[in-house]
Amino acid sequence: MSRQDCRILSARFGRPDGHRLAVYQAAGGYQALRLVLAGMKPDEVIEVVKESGLRGRGGAGFPTGAKWSFVPKTADQVYFFVNADESEPGTFKDRYLLDYDPHQTIEGTIISAFAVRANLAFIYVRGEFGWLVDRVQRAVDEAYAAGFLGRNILGSGYDLEMIVHKGAGAYICGEETGLINSVTGTKGQPSIKPPFPAVSGFLGKPTIVNNVETVAAVPWIMLNGAAAYRGFGTEKSPGTKLWSVSGPVRRQGVYEVPLGLPFREFFRDDLGGMRDGEELKACIVGGSSVPVLTAEEILSCTLDYESLQQAGTMLGSGGMIIIPQSADMVELLKVLMHFYWDESCGQCTPCREGTGWLHRVTSKLLKGEAVAEDLALLERICDGMAGLTICPLADAAVMPVRSFLKRFRGEFAARIHETAAAGSPTRWARGE
């Protein structure tokens, strides 16, 4: 199958008028919705999505149909949230989906909301995407005017309201319970699970939160069938995936490729390899929170959930950061630790304090003021954070630290100074 054939999600990327309803409809847009509302029951939609093997594209990779089926059938009120709070460093695919093709996501949202029997859907767009909030709102208005939203959609008796909600600058709201809490008008701090949102979420009612890329795939799946979707990708990772690629390669951008594509091929054919004078050193393949791989490791991976897990990392959000030989790994880690320290919501002590410590110690390393035991200290801080918090932000900070230290230890060790010029060991606040 030629690679051109796999543009399920990205068919209108780069098209200046791709956001218009007329353009979307001319390409078969809203046909899936007509099909679903004309003759399918919500559970039948869930079955098709289950069969397709679609997995959550926000980072966790949880099977979408299974998630939907957790909503109690007896629920009197269900809410559906689209997570467009895209803020994982290295990730910019949802922005493309909403910028070039907002109606695809809107149609996917309507079908998904119908499947879980929701009558109110939110599209939560990160606040920094100011222009995009306006664009999505305009498309939602168009969909209302065309009768795809509101009461009795296409005469089916199904009602759905849709609200475009603008975030206000908090990475933590990308976590699903943080996102729900944010829309209730409180701080977007995550809640402990269980209960899972599918059982008790927004205002205590069953709530499904799906990533933009996940719902955007739903119209195609409904129109072409689960088997056709499984025609792309691998047995365990079916379908296509959007990769956001940044760094000094010849062609950065957002690429849609079938899951299971060898990285080597993608890197050579799509990205055009490194820019002149640069050489591949490392790759953070799934957004800044997943473990970094060396060039050698990533070059032997295929781009799917299982292969990347085997290599010791994760597919995550598909935010692929290409790191050249010229990059200073100590400096990059310090840049990342500044981010997690800045974005920790402060709710859990291990994260609030730990991210601060990680930032301070990596800053010290960068300044050449670190002593030998600071490397062990970094690892000890990680041990005090991983798995000990309500949400995965602490783990997200720990994974880069551990993997940078494991794979590029030499660069870190070279920053250690045992001389008088160095500062004293960073004091670990444990009764010292």
Binding site: S87, T91, E128, R138, G169, L203, I321, V335, F339
Partner: protein, 181 residues
Amino acid sequence: MEKPVIATDLELTDRSRQRIAALCARYPTRQSALMPCLWVIQDEHGWVPAAAVPYLVDALGVSEARVHELLTFYTMFRTEKPAKYVLQVCRNISCHLLGAREVIAHLEKRLGIRLGETTPDGRFALAGVECLGACGHGPVLQLGKHFYEQLTPARVDAILESLRRDVVPRADTDRLFEEDR
């Protein structure tokens, strides 16, 4: 204890007041409309004046603490009048790899201020921010609702030169058609 005096000096246009009323009706609870209501106020003023707090307490039936909680938790809400042009430059990993440091250094030199500072005439503020979701287009700068991407020192000069004449150059994310405006 005496009930606090409700301040009424928040200047809002009728349109903004109507938008707030509409949001309260549209969201499932009035409290859940707090965030979009703060946006309505900030969109009109450029920041959220202190008088907005009692106004929202009254309009939404939320506590004063709740409003402050949101204003301080979310970095995009401003509780002080900002500079005329707030230039927010991403310094996260991808932009860093693509030359954000040089762009920031250049901005600092041209504006004569450091990150986090405002020019004495109150026209320009320079801020370092975390990932803006423009990673393949870095280095990136945000001004208002829009992004300027793939920055170089020369492009920075062109943008600043234009802003000094109070002409906001067309941003890379501004792909609206003329008929859409």
